[in-house]
Amino acid sequence: MNKLCSLSQAISRNIEDGMSVATGCGLESLIPFAAGYEIIRQKKRDLTLIAPISDIQLDQIIGAGCARKIVAAWVGNVAAGLAHNFRRAMEDGIPRPLEVEEHSNFTIGLALQAAAMGLPFLPTKTARGSDFSRADHFQPLRCPFTKEELLAVRAVKPDVAILHVQRADVEGNAHLWGNLGVTVEAARAARKVVLTCEEIVDHEVILSDPNRTLIQGFLVSSVVHVPFGSHPSPTQGFARRDDDFYFDYHKESRNREGFERWLERWVLGVKDHQEFLKRLGEERVRRLKPEGNLFSPSVSFNL
């Protein structure tokens, strides 16, 4: 089944107000920023956002007033520091109050993996003794075999996972490479998956390298061709990290008015991703493209 559609269609078809949405699952790379901007343009409300660290994307969606709750280990700007919209929401309820389900990176990975395997929880040795591990989504557990004390992490099952990948066919079978973070766990945990990708390839390309088909099409609801859709985060082989974009965002979002100007310039004031790239400018886009090639040798699946 051909699941190709526009970004606008993918967001309007798959995301409804009040849903839980996993994003930023590659950690600092493969963050589906273009899809996040479309969520903001479509004025989705009361979302629960699920992400290990998110590197400014959660901050943008929080600042735009789309989020009611965050399930995360870390909300900030990795290179520059604090997330100003997250702070305003948590400290002053601006633009609206925010609930947080606190995790560590490991526990959010386990929570998604539990859902991916159809389990209500997974046990772990991490995070014990921390103050956030006293929350309801963690429970002490005694191992029935060894009798050791463990922590049970409640499953997190997103309504939708939005994932950016290098290439996919029109059915949503996807090849991805580089660091994976919790991408595969999120794809299997979520009820629906929206893929944005750098390249649409023939099914034959997918079949040529099955070890790299980390997301299977039967998990995927929509496939969108969005080259540079992870900007400013990197996509290995396709886009470098646009460090200045993060530093500028940090400066401009320091106060609410500055953030609103930023939002108008980069999100609300542009129609779609193509217009966003135009605003970024040809020269900047060219500089962010990797130079040369570091190919791995092909492997043989000979019969």
Binding site: G26, G76, E91, F106, K125, T126, R241
Partner: protein, 243 residues
């Protein structure tokens, strides 16, 4: 601080690296005394040589290309939970005398300031064989009791970690902008073991929110050697992290 961090990495160790200063410390250690150290990153990257281009995050393409392994977060966290990671580096907004770290919220002028949260710090603090805390040394950061325990050190001291069932060894050193601390083997209180060249014990006391305890062998931190400085410059030529 980078040289001090590098000196903590022993040859052959598997190290949860983190970013900024520890990343540079890992590169310096690999270059000088720990050529067989392996670096693990929570995004799923494992490297047996440092990235040559400077990076702002562990997922930047130069840290991914020509790495030893690229997988997922649970792969590397699982290695750490099963006891295969000897050392990890962490930092925070606040630390107390038992090495507990806070990166959740602090109070400024009577108002709560929300910070980013744990990330992987609580995982490293609870699971790594031992961990090194890296901090800027300021009185507002060195507090008698942290407002919130994000990453547990020795809790309330003594055998708190054992009682709490933590499998990782806990903090072994605190490397600050002014000196280096170890921990009392029995009480698990922080002990000043060295002050950096040009810094006095009195100055460190002024920036520490509890009465300092000194290690018996307290002395000056050995200054970075010419080799260490050369290695730092090789991996941070523009002085992004060490200017």
């Amino acid at each position: 601080m980078v040289a001090a961090a590098a000196r903590e990495i022993r040859d052959g160790e598997r190290v949860f690296v983190g970013m900024r200063l520890p990343l540079l410390g890992f590169a310096v250690a690999k270059e000088l005394h720990a050529p067989n150290a392996v670096g693990l990153f929570e995004n799923g990257v494992i490297r047996d040589w440092p990235a040559l281009q400077s990076i702002f995050t562990m997922s930047d393409p130069p840290n991914v290309a020509r790495s030893l392994y690229c997988g997922g977060l649970l792969d590397v966290m699982g290695l750490m939970q099963s006891g295969r990671v000897e050392l990890g580096f962490i930092g925070g907004a606040e630390v107390d005398r038992f090495g507990n770290l806070n990166t959740h919220w602090v109070e400024e002028k009577g108002k709560r300031v929300r910070l980013p949260g744990s990330g992987g710090a609580a995982d490293i603090a609870t699971l790594a064989g031992r961990c090194i805390i890296i901090m800027n040394h300021e009185k507002r950061r060195f507090v008698p009791r942290v407002h919130f325990v994000t990453s547990p050190g020795y809790g309330e001291g003594g055998n708190w970690r054992d009682q709490s069932g933590l499998t990782g060894g806990g903090p072994s050193r605190v490397i600050t902008s002014m000196g280096i601390f170890t921990f009392d083997p029995a009480t698990k209180e922080m002990l000043l073991s060295s002050y950096h060249p040009g810094v006095t014990v009195e100055q460190i006391q002024r920036e520490t929110g509890w009465p300092l305890r000194l290690s018996d062998a307290v002395g000056e931190t050995p200054a970075p050697t010419a080799d260490e400085i050369a290695a730092v410059r090789k991996y941070d030529p523009k002085g992004v992290w060490t200017s």
